[in-house]
Structures are given as C-alpha cells and as structure tokens.
C-alpha cells in the first residue's frame, strides 16, 4: 500500500560535513509542493566532527510535532550507524553509502535496504576532495527525489536560488543531484511505497524559524537597540535582527542606521544597555538563554523596582551552562518569572509558532512601555532554531505604538506638580519623563526602592510598603493587558493546559486520545500573569493535566503559587529529555492516568 505525505525522515550526518544545506533543500522542496512539514535540527554543542541529525516530518494532516519512530533513515555517520539503524520502524527504509558493498542492515531484516554507492559516484564525477565530500549530500538528495517522487524541478530550482550569482556552483550541484536521481531510477525500485505528492496542505503559510520571526517582530515593534551576548540557541535572533534591520531600517537619504546593535561583553552588560536605553525611551531588547537570564537577574530586579521598560527574549534550552545547550526545554519559567532579589515578578509571554514570535515580539515593546517593566518572551530552541510552518505575518498600518505614560514637555507645562511614582490613575502605573525633556520640570533621580512617590530618597517603612503595594496593583493591571489564553471548551470534565511549543504535537495527541475515548478541553496559556479567563477555565474542570517540557512542572508551580489552587488538582504531563515533547508522550501519560485511576471514557479502546 502506498502512503502519501506521511513520514518521518532522519538524516544522520557528521557536524560540519556540509549536510545542512542539502537537508534544508529537502524540507523546502516538500514545503513548496504544498506538503505540511516540520524540521528538527538535533545537533551537538560542537562545530565539526560530532554527530548531528536533521529530521523532517511530512504530514498531510498537519501533525507537526515530533513523532517517535523513523520511517526513512539516511545514515551517513559511521559513529552513530548502529543506533541510527536501530531507530528505524519495522518496514522502514535505510539509505546508506554501500560503496564498500553489502547489505548493511545489521540484524534488522525487518527494514528495507537502500544502499547507494555515494562515494564511488562522487569519485567518478568530481576531482576536488572537498567537493567529493559535499556532493555526497547532494547525491543522496537526488536519489531521494526519485525514491520519494519529489518534483525535480522544484529541487533544482532551489539550487539555482541558493547559489544565485555563483553560477560555477549551480552546475556541479545539479550534476550531483542527477547522479543520485539516475542511480535511484536505474538500480532501485523507485518510487517507494512511502512517497510524496503535491498537496494544498500548506496554503499561504510560510516556513521560518522562530528567532527570525521574533527579530522581524522586534523591528516592526519599533526596537532600535539590540544588545546581546552570543549564546545558543538565541544567537540567531540577534543576528537576524541585524540582518533584517540592515535592509529595513536604513535611512534612504543618508544611508545611516535607524538602529544600533551591540554585541556586549557579557549578558550583564547586555541587560544594562537595554535598561539604559529603556530609561531614555528607546525600545531595546536582548536575546539570551537560561544561563544569560541567571546573569541578568540583578538588572532585572533593578528594572522592576526602578520601573524601566525592557524586553528580554529567552530562547530556552536544556540547562545548565555545562548541560545540553543545543537541546530544547521549557525550563526557565520559574527563574524568569521571579528573577531577582526582593519581591519581584515579571510578565512572561509564551509564543507557540513563528507567527506568535512575530506578534509577541512586536507587542512586547508596547507592554513594556505601558507597564514600565521588563517583559520576557519565552521562546525555546525547538521553535527558535528550527524552520516551522507558520501563518504569514500580518501588520495593520493603522496600528500605532503604545508608548505608555510618558510626559513630554508640553504635558509637563500643563501640570502643577510631577511625582514619578504617584498612582494617579489607580492602575499602579505612574507617569514617567525622559531625560532631556524640560529645563525645570520632571527631572528625577532613579533608584531601586528607597524613595517616595516623588522619587525623593527615603528609607521610611511606610513609603517602602506603599510602593510595594502599588507594584502589586500594577501586576493586577498586567493581568488585563497580556495575551489571553487560547481556549477550546466543549464542556468536558477533563482538560489539558499547556503553552509554547507543547502546542506542536497537541492536535495529534488529542486526536489519538479521542480515538481512545478521552475528550479533553484545552487551554493554551499565552502569558503570565494569569487573568480571569485562566481562573474561570480551571474552576470549571475536574481533571486538569498540565503538559510541559521540564522536570519540575514549572508552569504547574506557577499556577499553584499564583492562583492558590490545591496542587493535587494538577496532573503533570512531562517530558524533559532535551528533544521536543512528542504526541506519543502526551498520549501515553494521559492514557496511563485514565487507566490507573479507572476513569470513565466515552468508548472502550478499540483493539
């Protein structure tokens, strides 16, 4: 039986062998055929020589989360060959270099051998040893185009696109691709029973990584200053900001830049620069990962108490610094939500797609200005560094930035008395002024908490307490401004609460659970603090699963702590292996809970 547009292919390569562009073209070709795809780059913290895997999932149904089991393995790395072969599902396919001859399925007689003499083919065609190495990747790409029935014109078109302006590279690439394609046609049974066909499953969606999306959002949101320190997996966000800004933010008359990017000496300095800029009314951000957030916490506390807008993108990874920096997790929630000393809390946003990376990045600057506090956008490696299918970005030209409560010179003239921390509107947010505004009015000295409502130094207990209470009122205001949760409520007793990239496998997991007679309402949290919608949803459900990608159930802790709900009401569904959570994990853990607790289902499991 032939299946179309439904498989997982994994490329096992050696880091630095030039496989990334070939594998990327493979994914893009499927995408251009209209097939929903998800890509996952599983790579070591290393530049050259260690194993790296690239996984592409094609799914006509649009299931784009990680799925266990590999249907087609392109095994190009001798070091991991055994485990790569072992990971293939029964009936799956093993593509490998059989230049040395022989069936190399090891003991897996249940899988199909797709041996291609890659080394021999490139040796006969190319002289240059470097080209021989690189073009092995292109040869297997050509073979796959035949084996999977990929539109050859689309792939060759991408080569021309990728090497635009470098014509001497286009021809040998296409030659290499044809070598592989011919071999597969001539010596193998092509196409395979697993294959692709053109689809309309993609629609108008785009394929982009979350870091680039967030960088574009920062540009659209009016960020002018980016200060950062290199750290995987956030680096590509700062680099994408600079790259896009160099095209979108240069004054056409003067060729001068309407932005500034500083690669700081460390994360502390990066956050200090953001705060100095925010204090002066420029929209500024930094991008980092967990260890960077740790280093920024003192400054985050200053910004919280001094009430300075700042935006921080935390592209989460598996901790700690000496841990698995190139693997994904959602494990910085607590360290970000309560970052710093003293009673501090910071709003968090949880994007789950490149579109939301763009939208939340843009709106985070409005929120930071409105709330005069740091806003932390909780991205992760899975979303940030992989090409993800996404709704196209949209901007409304009628939209204008919310710069919050800033008194300009004219407004200062109109008031009798300026008090930086007076709660005039009752929302906990004072009016601020920017340096240089007025010769005699509105200047104040910014400190942490040792000041009164007029920013005059005091260590009075009453002034301190009043200030802290006002900050709580501001926190209540934040609850009404942050993005609402996305709720699907069909009056089930049970529900699942999740956020960020746990969205990716969720529709598949829910469909599988539904097949097992388990219907769940869903709430995808999009922000912290939690507003009324979150409380209401929780109140009306008896069984509450909280799915997330960390060991300690950090979102569960936040819900318990902030909403003062009995912890026993929340059942954790957890994955923390460093890959992204799969539909299998969610499905299995919930099913096991239903079985262990003899909970009723709509129908019995069909065997």
């Amino acid at each position: 039986m032939t299946t179309y547009n439904d498989f997982v292919i994994r490329f096992a390569n050696v880091n630095g062998s030039g496989s990334a562009s070939a594998n990327g073209m493979f994914a893009k070709a499927l995408f251009r055929m209209g097939i929903p795809v998800a890509t996952r780059n599983i790579f070591p913290s290393n530049i050259q020589g260690l194993p790296t895997w690239f996984e592409v999932r094609a799914s006509e149904k649009g299931y784009l989360g990680r799925r266990e089991g590999i249907d087609i393995m392109v095994a190009m790395n001798a070091e991991t060959y055994d485990e790569d072969v072992a990971s293939i599902v029964p009936g799956g396919f093993l593509l490998h270099d059989n230049s040395q001859g022989g069936d190399r399925r090891l003991n897996r007689s249940d899988i199909n051998d797709l041996g291609i003499p890659l080394s021999k083919l490139v040796q006969s065609e190319f002289e240059d040893p470097k080209q021989r190495q690189l073009f092995k990747n292109i040869v297997y790409l050509g073979a796959l185009s035949a084996l999977l029935n990929i539109d050859f014109e689309i792939i060759t078109g991408m080569v021309s696109e990728q090497y635009k302006g470098k014509d001497d590279l286009i021809k040998p690439n296409i030659t290499a691709m044809e070598l592989g394609r011919s071999y597969a046609h001539d010596y193998m049974k092509s196409p395979l029973p697993i294959q692709v066909r053109a689809s309309d499953g993609v629609g108008d969606r785009i394929l982009i990584d979350g870091n680039a999306a967030a960088a574009l959002g920062a540009i659209y949101g009016g960020a002018t200053i980016c200060a950062w320190y290199p750290i995987t997996p956030s680096t590509s966000m700062a680099e994408a900001f600079e790259q896009h800004a160099s095209k979108l933010r240069v004054d056409s008359d003067t060729s001068r830049k309407n932005y500034a990017v500083i690669q700081a000496e460390d994360e502390l300095a990066a956050m200090g620069i953001v705060i100095g800029a925010g204090w002066n009314g420029a929209r500024a951000f930094t991008a980092t990962s967990g260890p960077g957030v740790s280093l920024m916490t003192e400054f985050l506390g200053l910004a919280y108490f001094a009430e300075i807008p700042a935006v921080l993108f935390d592209v989460q990874r598996a901790g700690p610094s000496t841990g698995m920096p190139t693997r994904t997790q959602q494990a910085d929630l607590l360290s970000s939500a309560y970052a710093s000393h003293g009673d501090t809390r910071h709003p968090l946003l949880f994007p789950s797609s490149p579109k939301e990376c763009f939208d939340f990045a843009a709106s985070s600057f409005d929120l930071a200005d409105r709330l005069q506090t740091p806003i932390i956008v909780m991205n992760d490696l899975e979303l940030g560094m992989n090409d993800n299918l996404s709704q196209p970005f949209v901007w409304d030209d009628e939209r204008s930035y919310d710069r919050g409560k800033v008194l300009d010179r004219k407004k200062l003239e109109e008031i009798d008395e300026f008090g930086r921390y007076l709660d005039i509107d009752g929302d906990g947010i004072g009016y601020r002024t920017l340096p240089g505004t007025h010769p005699t009015k509105g200047a104040f000295f910014t400190r942490g908490t040792s000041r009164d409502e007029y920013a005059v130094y005091t260590e009075s207990p009453e002034a301190y307490t009043a200030n802290m209470d006002r900050l709580l009122r501001k926190w209540d205001t934040a609850k009404t401004l942050v993005p609402l949760p996305e709720i699907v409520d069909s009056d089930q007793k049970a529900c699942i609460i999740y956020y960020g990239t746990t969205e990716m496998p969720m529709s598949e997991a829910l469909d599988r659970l539904s097949d097992d007679g388990i219907q769940l309402d869903t709430m995808r949290l999009r922000a912290f603090p939690f507003g009324e919608a979150v409380t209401d949803f929780i109140d009306k459900h008896d069984i509450l699963f909280v799915a997330e990608q960390n060991r300690d159930g950090q979102m569960r802790t936040l819900l318990v702590n902030e909403l003062e709900i009995d912890p026993n009401r929340f059942i954790p569904v957890l994955y923390y292996g460093g890959l992204s959570i799969s539909a299998d994990t969610i499905h299995e853990q919930i099913l096991a809970y239903y079985t262990d607790h003899n909970l009723p289902r709509l129908k019995e499991v069909q065997s």
């Binding site: 659209y220 979108l248 830049k257 200090g272 204090w279 003192e298 930035y401 200047a443």
Partner: protein, 351 residues
C-alpha cells in the same frame, strides 16, 4: 526632585552664565557624605564646570553604580535625570543611555571599587566602545560604605587605618584606559579644583570617551600616614604634566597658568581646548609614551596629574555604528515600522 533642604533663595548678586543660570541651578540636593569627603569636591567641581559651559542642566544625564561615589549624582545637576544603577554596571547603562539619545551629555560617576573590581570588565569594554561621555572615577582606594576594606586601586604596601599593608598590586585605570584606546584620559586630585574644573569642561565637550581618574581621599578610612591616597601624600607626590582649559567660542582667552608651552585644539562645538605643557618632554598626543610616563611615575610612587592624553582624531560609538543623527529615542514610527506592504514581501521570502 532630589532637593532635600536647600534654601530656595540665593544671593541676588550670584553671577549668571551665558544662558542666565547661576551656579545654584547646577547643584543637587545636600550631600550625605562625610564632612571633608573628596567626592563632594568632585561634585562641586562638576557643578562649576557644567555651569561655566553654559549647557542647560537638563541636557545632562547622570549615571552611577554603587558606592559612596555613586551616591554623588544626587548632589549635582538636580534638574537632570539620574540613574543609580547596580554595582559595577554603570558603563552598560551609560552605553544604553547614550545609544538612545546621542544629544545628551552623559556623565558617569563611579568609584574604584565599582570600576576596578566588580566592574572592571564593563570599564574595559566601554572604553573599547568609545561611548561619548565623561567617565569619572572618584578614586579613594577604599570601600567607604562598607567601612574601609581595601580596593583594587590601592597601592601595594599602602596601609589601612589599622596599619595593615595592601598585599596585592594595584589596578591603574588610567593605564587601562590608555591601553584600550580612550581618546581623552586625565588624572586629577579632588583637592585641586583649579586643575580639575577645566579638565572636566574639556572632557564634557570632547566627542568620544573621556576618562578622568580623580584621586579623592576618604577622610574616614584612607587619609592616614601610610596611605598613598591621603590628602598629604597626593599633595607631596604630584607631577603636573599638561594643564588644559576650554575656551568657549564667545569667550576671551584668559587662561592663567604657570609658564609652559601652549597649544590649542579645536573642539567639535567650535570652542578651543588650550593645553599648557608644564613638562617639555611630555607629548599629550602620544598615547604610547603617555602610558610609559604614567607607569614610570607609578614605579617612583609619583602621581602624574593633568591631561595625560587627548586624541586629535577622536571617534565615538555612534560614528562606529553609523547611526542616524536623530536620537534613536526620537525616531518617528514611520522611520521604525516598515509597514504592511513590506511585510507581504517578507512573507514571500519565506515561501
């Protein structure tokens, strides 16, 4: 405002500067530092320098870290915005502030603990980045707020109040600034206002990173015999090399200096920087020789003061980054947001 209890009324004959403001308009709240603290003299010198330059007070911004020195921005320029940040991190805050608004004069106040210990990394990197600002270190060789621990600028062998010697070699911020490439480097003494005020004026007008290390004795913890940061020691071991003064475009040249060879340098705002070389073999345009001179003097236990180095072709971070002339915090939305139709094209690039 940060004014605490200064009388509103001032003497009617207090002289006014070119924009009609008197010195009181450049003051801040009453200092809470110890009587006789060198830092108060630095603040007073800054008040005088800013006033004499006739720059409106609100066109300055003040940043500091943590420590006695870092409290002082509350005590001058009360009509300017100030930010007392976290320990050792003033340089990064100053960087962000200057990137956001290049039109304001940025004055950073730090101390020897703040810049030479916890903030040494940030100090080095702001020098590299050439932020257009005046960076002052009130250098007293001791941690005053925590009651008298040695700081990293204290000279080897210099003793504590109880007679304990410093065990480690000093970090010399002037040498570091010279080595990393500051375009204006000076050292002065809080007790020598006649030298300090003109240096501050020149540094404020300098377009680039200007650093002044001000030896500023701590009367409580580091002003005894055996200390190399005491009033007496500094007075007895000072070598003046180059005095400097700024002559505004509208002023007459009336520099009254000890005899020496004089030179003038054009400043970006049209004023002139007058240099008075007190030592014939000292060349304030030669960074490498200046570094050697400072190091040699340090070996002898001498404190070299004055304008140690000024670049004849300074650059600042905005030039390096090629940012627009309009302060980044003042750009209109139309200059910031590429708009809906551009976004449609961007989407197409990801198809």
């Amino acid at each position: 405002m940060t004014y605490v209890s200064k009388p509103e009324i001032h003497h009617p004959l207090l002289p006014v500067n070119e924009i009609g403001l008197n010195r009181r308009d450049y003051e801040g709240s009453v200092s809470t530092l110890c009587a006789g603290c060198g830092h108060d003299s630095v603040s007073a010198a800054l008040v005088q320098a800013c006033s004499e330059l006739s720059i409106p007070p609100h066109r300055f911004l003040k940043v500091s870290g943590i420590g006695c020195s870092s409290k002082t921005p509350a005590y001058f320029l009360g009509n300017s915005h100030g930010l007392n940040s976290v320990h050792g991190r003033m340089p990064s805050v100053a960087t962000g502030a200057n990137l956001a608004n290049r039109d304001l004069h940025c004055v950073g106040i730090s101390g020897d603990g703040d810049s030479a210990s916890i903030g040494l990394g940030q100090f080095g990197h702001i020098v590299r980045r050439k932020i257009n600002m005046l960076y002052i270190v009130d250098n007293n060789g001791t941690y005053g707020l925590t009651k008298g621990q040695f700081s990293a600028t204290n000279d080897l062998g210099s003793t504590s109040k109880k007679g304990q010697p410093t065990l480690y070699a000093p970090i010399d911020l002037v040498s570091m600034a010279l080595q990393i490439g500051a375009s204006f480097v000076a050292r002065s003494f809080s007790g020598d206002k006649r030298q300090l005020v003109p240096l501050m004026k020149a540094a404020i007008l300098h377009k680039g990173f200007a650093f002044i290390d001000v030896i500023s004795p701590c009367v409580m913890f580091n002003n005894h015999d055996g200390s190399t940061k005491s009033y007496d020691y500094v007075r007895q071991h000072t070598e003046h090399v180059v005095d400097a003064d700024v002559v505004l475009p509208t002023e007459e040249i009336t520099v009254d200096y000890k005899p020496g060879s004089k030179e003038s340098v054009n400043m970006p705002d049209g004023s002139l920087l007058h240099l008075n070389k007190l030592s014939d073999d000292y060349d304030p345009y030669d960074r490498v020789k200046a570094l050697g001179h400072v190091q040699e003097a340090q070996e002898r236990g001498e404190v070299v003061t004055g304008l140690l180095y000024v670049s004849q072709d300074p650059h600042d971070c905005h030039e390096i980054l090629e940012t627009t002339d309009v302060p980044l915090n003042a750009l209109e939305e139309s200059a910031l947001c590429p708009g809906a139709s551009t976004l449609l094209e961007i989407n197409q690039n990801f198809r």
